[in-house]
């Protein structure tokens, strides 16, 4: 059986998110400062969209990955930075939803739901080692009733605003991969410090920064699967596979916004007395853009569908992320070509989207890493 149709609930969900975004996000997205950002986050909280995968019993919408990807695409089409805040929050919550115990779910998931919802962060990358698990240097020393965490995480999305940070650290410096654990650190924990928030080229609404941990005491109940040595690595790879599908949805949203803007321009910009959309050179470019976006969207949906079905989704999510991020970069650049000099001006939507799309081949594992993930399973 094969079915590409969306359910009535999914169609209503898209419609409500689109409606809210057109009034409360899109008009302010390009020039948004801190005040506008707070208002946008409140709009998301009002609709319970900061982490839509949180199960209903913990205050969330309980959406599956396909529906969550639809939300992320709509938000990315309105504001890629805002969508990045949501995608990072979804990533941070995923290990808790997958393997957290009741106490962890009760304590952390409600922080991401309802009108007072906040964002969360996922911290793996380090200043020196990137995301290489073999040279991870953040480590947690076992104490009598928990752990003591020391180290530094870099390029953390939602740094400084996260209600909690999901941190990956080694507990044995000579056997790093196998000793990985996933720790849940409250945003106000003693010893946790946001050292710097970077000025990024794109996704500007999302704060990206460096976070330091100095003797952060973590109680045993804040460690996912604390008694199961060896669980961290598998949970981490699984979480990444989910995160890649969400980044893929984010990429589709960015590409779609670029296509819609370029199409509107091409329908109204006259050359030789006719809209440039009527010129084959532009028409073919638009056709290629639309086709690539459809390909990326279908691959994203397939990966998310496999996740929802509990099937093996590792290759599908890596392929979706590889394709969608590449498509977003190609489509935004093609849109800039159609707009000509206008698309190169600061403050122009396409100029912003080109910069937003640039990060997609880097985050959630570079595209070279995606190729490694795919080829290792061929």
């Amino acid at each position: 059986m094969m079915d590409f149709s969306l359910t009535k609930e999914q169609q209503e969900l898209i419609s409500s998110v689109k409606n809210m975004a057109s009034k409360e996000i899109t008009p302010f997205a390009l020039q948004a400062g801190e005040t506008e950002k707070k208002k946008m986050l409140k709009s998301l909280a009002r609709m319970n969209l900061l982490c839509p995968t949180v199960p209903k019993e913990f205050g969330g919408l309980g959406l599956g990955l396909v529906s969550s990807a639809l939300v992320v695409e709509e938000l990315a089409a309105a504001s890629p930075g805002l969508a990045a805040i949501v995608a990072a929050t979804l990533h941070a919550a995923e290990p808790i939803i997958l393997a957290g115990n009741d106490q962890q779910k009760n304590e952390f998931l409600p922080l991401l739901t309802g009108r007072e919802a906040g964002a969360a962060a996922f911290a793996l990358t380090e200043p020196e080692g990137g995301s290489d698990l073999n040279i991870i240097s953040t480590y947690a020393t076992a104490e009598q009733t928990g752990y003591l965490l020391n180290g530094c995480k870099d390029y953390v999305i939602n740094a400084g605003i996260a209600r909690f940070i999901t941190v990956v650290a080694a507990t044995d410096m000579l056997n790093k991969k196998a000793s990985l654990r996933i720790f849940l650190i409250p945003g106000h924990a003693a010893g946790l410090k946001t050292e710097e928030i970077y000025q990024t080229s794109g996704i500007n609404l999302a704060p990206v920064g460096r976070v330091k941990f100095v003797d952060v005491g973590i109680r045993d109940q804040y460690v996912i699967k604390s008694r199961e040595a060896g669980s961290g690595y598998l949970l981490l790879t699984q979480t990444f596979d989910v995160g890649r599908a969400l980044v893929s949805a984010l990429a589709v949203g960015i590409a779609r916004a670029a296509l819609e803007h370029a199409l509107h321009f091409a329908e109204n910009r006259l050359q030789s007395g006719i809209p440039i959309k009527k010129h084959q050179a532009v028409a073919f470019t638009l056709a290629d853009m639309a086709t690539k976006i459809e390909m990326a969207r279908l691959m994203t949906w397939k990966a998310c569908w496999l996740i929802d079905q509990g099937e093996d989704y590792s290759v599908a999510s890596a392929m979706a992320k590889l394709v969608s991020s590449t498509v977003a970069q190609q489509v935004t650049c093609a849109a800039a070509d159609i707009l000509g000099a206008r698309g190169y001006l600061q403050g122009n939507l396409i100029e912003q989207l080109v910069r937003d799309a640039r990060v997609l081949s880097t985050i959630e594992g570079t595209n070279h890493i995606q190729r490694l993930v795919i080829s290792s399973q061929l």
Binding site: L98, A99, Y139, T141, A142, T171, D172, M173, L174, N175, K177, A178, S179, K225, E228, A229, G230, S231, Y233, L234, L235, T237, Q238, D241, D312, S314, S376, Q377, L378
Partner: protein
Amino acid sequence: MSFRDIGIKIQAAREEKGFSQEQLARLVGCSQSALSNYEKGKRRLYLSQLEKIAEILDKPLEYFVASLSSQHHSQPVADRNQRFVTIVNHLSRLTDEEINEVMEYIDYLEWRRSGGHK
């Protein structure tokens, strides 16, 4: 440690238990070809699947993910981590020249461990 390493250990534990791939696959609830791919490291295992396999094969989860090299370390983890902290503290007090000497000695140790082939 890689998914291939985990697969090798699944195969070893399965054979130790006397199960065929078909038998273990049936107990786990996956196809024989999926299990074969897990053992070859050609398909990623998720935590819940490995937990199930570990339970059926009577092994702790750690058995499957522990690096082979970790078998060479006899010190308790906490002691080793504490020694690393001590070493880093010593290093922070050295001059650049002394750090270079330490690096040369580390290179020598790695060369010696590799049997002089590096």
